[in-house]
């Protein structure tokens, strides 16, 4: 089943997609208008840095130098707070004076059950479903300090449109395609992730309790898909959906 969240009369409402593509509101009424989408989940979003082989390979030499001395042994995690959450179709303002901005086509793993100290073998049982995410970020020049300024800007974590039931997707076999102005620009495959979705759920839930509605972004590839004001960026995953957002300059948004 595909479920989304929309804004209707200033209230968050759930919608379900029927087989023919029509939308059904949570009260059973059909929805005719093009909705204003919200992110399909509203919990804490946990991102995993350095989980994509391409990124780690590129940084391998750096990690042998000071201050790091060696590559990280555990997942390096970050949080995308509530001001970053946005829906499908939302317009995202990019700074023009802060350096390059990159798209980060990603899977969103939405938690469905309270999860504490879950074993790898049981990890997928706590997943409610999957969505499409775009972990937008400024260029990261260092993993030495937290990246709040690069990653926590308003709208820098669009997700959606759909939350698709867990049973419909194998998170070990997803391909994430990113499009810039309609052209395929990047392909990211879960086989290139150092830690799999079940391994990440086990690792995170080992020390903190995950709540229903929390989202894990397992990996983003090496930052190479630069986005600029005027562009349209889309992220697509077969069986889940296509998340599209239009980009404008921050100055014109004010």
């Amino acid at each position: 089943m595909k479920q989304g969240r929309i804004v209707l009369n200033q209230q968050a409402r759930r919608v379900t997609a029927l087989a023919d593509g029509k939308l059904l509101l949570d009260n059973g009424n059909p929805l005719a208008d093009t909705p204003q989408w919200l992110a399909p989940a509203s919990g804490t979003v946990y991102g995993v840095a350095l989980n994509h082989r391409s990124l780690l390979e590129q940084l391998e030499a750096d990690f042998q130098q000071p201050p790091y001395q060696k590559a990280p042994a555990t997942p390096v995690l970050f949080i995308k707070p509530r001001n970053t959450h946005a829906g499908h179709g939302s317009t995202i303002a990019l700074p023009t004076q802060a350096g390059k901005v990159f798209a980060g086509g990603a899977l969103g793993v939405v938690i469905g059950k309270v999860a504490s100290k879950v074993a790898v073998e049981q990890a997928l049982e706590v997943v409610a479903g999957y969505t499409v995410a775009n972990e937008i970020s400024l260029e990261e020049t260092s993993f030495y300090r937290p990246a709040v300024k690069a990653k926590c800007r308003d709208g820098f974590c669009p997700m959606g449109p759909w939350l698709v039931d867990a049973a419909a997707i194998d998170p070990l076999k997803v391909e994430i395609r990113s499009y810039l102005n309609g052209e395929l620009a990047e392909t990211n495959h879960s086989r290139d992730w150092l830690r799999s979705v079940p391994q990440l759920i086990a690792a995170l839930s080992q020390f903190m309790t995950l709540q229903p509605g929390d989202v894990i972004i397992p990996a983003t590839p090496l930052r190479q898909l630069e986005i600029r004001p005027g562009d349209t960026v889309a992220v697509e995953i077969d069986g889940i959906g296509r998340l599209e957002n239009h980009l404008i300059a921050e100055e014109s948004a004010q």
């Binding site: 946990y46 060696k70 042994a73 390096v76 709040v148 309790t209 004010q254």
Partner: protein, 259 residues
């Protein structure tokens, strides 16, 4: 005035309450409960920012140079807990320390706020204890969530006090007691980046919303804490937050009893 969020024993509903001078709480319907009779929750709900190395003496203590730009990381609701609750010290570690901090509670939506206007966006102040498990700090990688975002390791509260009830937030004494012994003492006047600067900085690239909290960093004086310890962090004129350290086994027993 002092504002808190509490639950009554055995009930799921969260009440926003006012706190009296004797620390009893007053519900909206007028009912009154003693400090010991309620479950204290974190006093606000929103994004939680925490500052690393924001006191020069603390930076020196950890052999770091004070940062030239605020070192900010985020916390999730998973780690937050309230006044008079327990915090879990993981087994088989060598060093977990407290960090007494002044917390700023945002009261109005803030974007591109100048330091001159910054205090207009503050609803009030609270206190937190930003525990860290140093064993899990990997070298120089970001203060990772395993160090700073473990369940129960960020008590905050007991309440928040209105901004105007704190005469000068830039001159408040911070103190930590472990089992009654004073172990940490500092003053908010020693912050590297002060509150107006932090609000200007954060709001220059993201929108702050009512309920967001900024834990402003801790001065020197860190020490290990062990299961059985009572840890009290206090910010002068704001509040005194009581917390007890338990082992993982003790915590599992407590969880089993409450189910």
């Amino acid at each position: 005035m002092k504002h808190a969020r509490i639950r009554l024993p055995g009930e799921a509903e969260i009440h926003a309450v006012l706190v009296n001078d004797d620390h009893s709480v007053q519900l909206a319907d007028g009912r009154r409960f003693a400090e010991e009779a309620v479950e204290w929750l974190p006093p606000a709900e929103g994004t939680v920012f925490a500052l690393g190395l924001n006191y020069a003496d603390h930076a020196a203590e950890l052999a770091f140079k004070a940062p030239t730009e605020p070192l900010v990381f985020l916390k999730s609701p998973a780690t937050l807990t309230g006044h008079r609750q327990v915090s879990v010290r993981p087994d088989n570690i060598t060093y977990m320390h407290y960090e007494c901090e002044l917390v700023v509670i945002i009261g109005k939506t803030a974007k591109n706020v100048s330091r001159e206007q910054a205090m207009d966006y503050v609803a009030g102040f609270s206190v937190c204890n930003d525990y860290a498990v140093r064993d899990y700090l990997e070298n120089y990688y970001r203060p990772n969530l395993r160090v700073k975002n473990r369940d129960t390791l960020t008590p905050i509260g007991p309440w928040w006090v209105d901004r105007d009830d704190v005469a000068n937030p830039a001159s408040l004494t911070l103190r930590t007691w472990v089992n009654g012994e004073l172990r940490q003492q500092g003053n908010t006047s020693d912050m590297v980046f002060d509150i107006p600067y932090l609000i200007e900085y954060l709001s220059s690239f993201m929108t702050l919303s009512p309920g967001d909290m900024i834990a402003t960093g801790t001065p020197e004086g860190l020490a290990d804490v062990l299961p059985g310890d009572e840890v009290i962090v206090e910010v002068e004129g704001v509040g005194r937050l009581v917390n007890h350290i338990v082992s993982e086994a003790q915590y599992a027993d407590r969880q089993a009893q409450t189910v």
